[in-house]
């Protein structure tokens, strides 16, 4: 034993070994720390991203409103005294609104100043006034205090997004406007209220008037088409490939093809939609129908792969039992295998749908990127979807759209989290160990 020790140093007996061991353990600790640091970086990025979005976006759920005293003079609103809402609706509400504001600031004169004054309230204010009057026709001949949205810049100003202390030249609101606004605020005529418009209206050029309703409905229509196409086809394809397909080159080809299709960049599906669905088949541009078809082709591989995995998880003994009772292969599948595999397939489908909901690029190709102010009413109406709306707003130069973009992202993430939670719950609820 001692002889061996002289030829090869023994780890424990060697004098240097303490230092070497120390070095090795230092390396070990360093390596471990690097691993932990990597995870921290990833989590930190996620945190920064979410914090940025929430801190930028939560203000979009509240809006600054300004109270103005509008006088509904019958001579102006309804000169013929018809009392007919159709006639009243055509009155000059812009003039009424501006007069109301001007009446509050009688000292303001001059074209520029008046124009500046008008910017205190949203260009959508007249329609707010109009809607209020049409609901309360007995207001005719009275003066009413009506809360209207502040102009986008003043909304930002009131929320502190446009700081007071920067020089006037660098500020989107000038000193006069600030003093008028302060005057209104001092008299309790400025309030922050819940921004219902954000959820009830569609896109607009004015940040304070823009909402996500159109995009949400567009996403809904698109996903319905996707679901109706991708789920049945995906389930049928999975059933065929897993349960009936012979093992030959053709099914091999399908299998390889599905795996590769799952990794094709999404924008390529958009090109397919543009070239085939729009140009060849002449389907309408910007329509949820086309968007849905494109997204269905894109999610199909996900659903097929998930479907096959859950079919594979059903133990062969179930099939053997059913076949042994004299059921045909198809009956075996539809009566026994498919019901057991369905929760897994649904989970895969929900995850695929969540992917489709967040997808933007292919929809740009088929024209769902247009500026659309109406809430779509059918599968062929021009529409946009939530992620595309985010893209459009992110590109908009107005300061007011930054918070809208972030808020729309929060809504999108809320939908995605709900869908994923649903998938997780479904998996937990029906998880089965054989």
């Amino acid at each position: 034993m001692t002889d061996i020790a002289t030829t090869v140093p023994r780890p424990l007996a060697d004098a240097d070994s303490a230092a070497r061991i120390e070095r090795r353990y230092r390396q070990e600790r360093r390596f471990r720390r690097i691993g932990l640091a990597a995870i921290c970086v990833a989590l930190g990025m996620l945190a920064i991203m979410l914090i940025t979005i929430v801190s930028n976006g939560y203000t979009a759920f509240i809006a600054t409103e300004v109270a103005i005293d509008v006088t509904f003079d019958p001579a102006e609103v309804d000169p013929d005294g018809t009392g007919d809402p159709a006639v009243i609706g055509r009155a000059n509400f812009q003039g009424l609104t501006r007069n109301a504001l001007r009446a509050y600031f009688p000292d303001v004169s001059g074209r520029t100043d008046r124009r500046d004054l008008n910017k205190l309230i949203s260009v959508g204010a007249p329609s707010t006034v109009r809607a209020a009057l049409l609901e309360n026709l007995d207001w005719m001949g009275t003066t009413q205090t009506i809360w209207v949205k502040a102009g986008a810049d003043f909304d930002s100003f009131n929320k502190g997004q446009i700081p007071r202390d920067v020089p006037e030249s660098d500020r989107r609101v000038n000193d006069n406007q600030v003093s008028w606004f302060d005057q209104l605020a001092a008299n309790g005529r400025v309030e922050k209220r819940f921004n219902g418009t954000f959820f009830s209206s569609a896109d607009s050029r004015e940040p304070e008037q823009a909402g996500i309703r159109g995009a949400v409905v567009g996403s809904f229509f698109t996903l319905i088409v996707t679901l109706l196409l991708a789920f049945p086809v995906g389930v049928m394809a999975a059933v065929y490939l897993e349960e009936f397909a012979p093992k030959n080159r053709w099914t091999d080809l399908i299998e390889v093809n599905i795996n590769n299709l799952a990794a094709v960049p999404s924008i390529v599906f958009g090109l397919l939609g543009l070239a085939v669905l729009l140009n060849l088949f002449g389907l309408p541009r910007s329509a949820p129908l086309v968007g849905g078809i494109v997204l269905a082709l894109m999610t199909l591989p996900t659903i097929i792969i998930a479907g096959r995995a859950s079919l594979k998880a059903v133990p062969p003994s179930i099939r053997e039992a059913a076949l042994g009772m004299g059921a045909s292969p198809l009956q075996t599948v539809t009566h026994h295998v498919l019901p057991l595999a369905l929760p897994g397939m649904l989970t895969g489908t929900i995850i695929g749908m969540a992917q489709a909901l967040g997808e933007t690029a292919p929809l740009l190709m088929i024209g769902m990127v247009a500026f659309i102010v109406d809430v779509p009413g059918s599968f062929t109406d021009p529409a946009t979807v939530l992620p595309v709306q985010i893209f459009l707003w992110a590109d908009a130069p107005e300061r007011g759209f930054v918070e809208k973009t972030s808020a729309a992202i929060m809504v999108l993430l809320a939908f995605l989290i709900t869908m994923n939670l649903l998938a997780v719950l479904l998996r937990k609820r029906f998880e089965r160990r054989w």
């Binding site: 002889d3 061996i4 090869v8 140093p9 023994r10 780890p11 070497r20 061991i21 090795r24 353990y25």
Partner: protein, 273 residues
């Protein structure tokens, strides 16, 4: 084999003898092992003699492998596994937290049930441990270690021309001998073998058994085996485990010819297990 005989004579290593009682190398006292809430081993007391082969036998799940893995603290790698009791290697407590497992494992090597060569060349498999333990620095030193270890494992003649080929390309028996060579490359004092032949064919098994017999001249060997014949062939001491309890231990011959415990009797006569 020639070189083995040589080492014996020149280095004067005490030759193990079946009749002479050996110095105690490992002393285990009241060793219990828990996997989470479940206790797998109950108060095992076992002394392992130097320069001899000790077999641990018993039916599946009896705790023999668990005990073996305590001897080089391999149980540390299993989440939720807890070991209680004392195990002394040459008088040093190895279960204490202060002990460095890395150094312990350099002294107590291990060979596994399934041959597990690394996906590296044959030479790199051998030099892996000497390199990390810093046992050699020059290429010549490493070459010497490769040759000596492979010779001692009886594999040199078969692989000397293809040391750069992957170790995974060898046959099962060769892979297992490569693993033994890998274990002895750092000159451990104890080699633990966990059913080293269970994945091998009879001819390869015979070679490994032969090798074990030669290796005990230099090393203390503890072997877990499922085969009673193998225990009888290769070991001087045998310990019989059943349901996590060490039922009986003693000279191999005594265990197989005159077991004191009824359970041992039943097991070796094939009534269960």
């Amino acid at each position: 084999m020639a070189n083995l005989a040589e080492t014996q004579t020149t280095e004067g290593v005490p030759v193990a003898n079946d009749d002479i009682p050996q110095a105690i190398r490992i002393a285990a006292e009241r060793v219990s092992v828990f996997y989470g809430e479940k206790q797998a081993l109950f108060d095992v007391d076992l002394d392992i003699a130097s320069h001899s082969v000790t077999s641990l036998i018993g039916p599946s799940g009896c705790g023999k492998s668990t005990f073996l893995r305590c001897l080089n603290r391999m149980n540390d790698t299993i989440e939720g596994c807890r070991v209680a009791g004392n195990i002394k290697l040459d008088g040093v407590e190895i279960l204490s937290d202060a002990l460095d497992v890395v150094q312990l494992r350099a002294r107590v090597g291990m060979v596994f049930q399934k041959p597990n060569p690394f996906p590296k060349s044959i030479a790199d498999n051998i030099t892996y441990a000497p390199r990390i333990h810093g046992l050699a620095t020059t290429k010549a030193d490493f070459d010497a270690i490769v040759e000596r270890s492979l010779r001692r494992a009886g594999l040199w003649d078969e692989v000397k021309d293809r040391l750069d080929e992957p170790g995974t390309g060898l046959s099962g028996g060769q892979q297992q001998r490569l693993c033994i060579a890998r274990a002895i490359a750092v000159q451990p004092e104890v080699i633990l073998m966990d059913e080293p032949c269970s994945a091998l064919d009879p001819i390869a098994t015979a070679r490994i058994e032969e090798l074990i017999d030669e290796l005990r001249q230099e090393y203390t060997i503890v072997i877990v085996t499922h085969s009673m014949q193998q225990a009888a062939r290769v070991s001087q001491k045998t310990a019989f485990f059943h349901l996590g309890i060490l039922v009986e231990e003693g000279e191999t011959e005594q265990i197989f010819t005159a077991p004191r415990d009824e359970r041992t009797q039943d097991y070796i006569t094939g009534r269960f297990g």
